[in-house]
């Protein structure tokens, strides 16, 4: 089963978000995920009176996505998290942490996105 999401090409994204803002929707959040080796996708979630509306945007990895923070200021917070975790970059962000929101500035280049691979390390019993 899939959620109801409108497939949106990248060029129409800003126009659709402006129409939703004028209709009175509020911004919930955005979800970024990796579809396969070359494509990533972002799903935007909006809501009015507890009815949800989702927009799905698919794009090849490495493209710069236009940020929706000029329209919905609250989106800058979620977009900065996506930069940290998945390495997607946005253009036109109102407040940009440049990938240091969760990670330190020194670790930014050594830790690889997406979803940095990690291992378990157990402390030895003394």
């Amino acid at each position: 089963m899939a959620i109801e999401a409108e497939d949106t090409p990248l060029e129409q994204l800003m126009w659709k978000v402006v129409t939703l803002k004028e209709a009175g929707y509020r911004f919930l959040t955005l979800t970024a995920l990796e579809v396969d080796e070359e494509t990533a996708e972002i799903i935007y979630h909006f809501d009015i009176n507890l009815q949800m509306k989702n927009l799905r945007v698919r794009f090849p990895k490495g493209t710069k996505i236009p940020s929706i923070s000029p329209i919905y200021f609250a989106a800058f917070w979620a977009e900065n998290e996506v930069i940290d975790l998945l390495g997607i970059t946005f253009s036109g962000l109102k407040i940009d942490y440049h990938g240091t929101m969760y990670l330190d500035a020194e670790d930014k280049d050594t830790v690889k996105t997406p979803f940095c691979r990690y291992t378990f390390v157990k402390k030895e019993a003394e």
């Binding site: 378990f120 157990k122 402390k123 030895e124 019993a125 003394e126």
Partner: protein, 128 residues
């Protein structure tokens, strides 16, 4: 000043704290406290190792050992519910504080020896 009636009532109520460690609370039953294993019943099936979300149990089937790290354990109770022989259970008290990291290893009974194959062959010889 609206708090004054409450403060005066508190002078005559009993204390809200307990004089621990001289007085200890009686624990509730069915609390998920320290984990104990009755190793004589254990069949080393490895179900608790696969289901543990914290990866704190290690089982070696050949050597018949069950190793458990009480500091990694999150006391969720999944192992004791899925154990087929019900040898894992929780005590009602929480594990006592430790000064050094410890790992608990329990060794089970060795398996009884299998019957030797020569006896079976002689049975078939006499029957034919």
């Amino acid at each position: 000043m609206k708090m004054l009636p409450e403060i005066i009532k508190n002078l005559f109520r009993k204390k809200a704290t307990r004089n621990y460690p001289a007085v200890k609370r009686v624990p509730f039953p069915n609390v998920r406290g320290e984990l104990v294993n009755d190793i004589s019943q254990c069949i080393f099936c490895k179900i608790c190792e696969t289901k543990c979300p914290a990866n704190c149990i290690e089982i070696d089937k050949d050597k018949r050992t069950w190793t458990y790290d009480p500091m990694e354990c999150v006391y969720c109770g999944i192992c004791s519910e899925s154990c087929p022989k019900k040898c894992l259970s929780h005590k009602p008290e929480y594990r006592p504080p430790m000064t050094k990291r410890q790992v608990i290893t329990l060794r089970g009974k060795p398996l009884p020896p299998k019957p030797a194959p020569e006896e079976k062959k002689s049975d078939t010889d006499t029957s034919s």
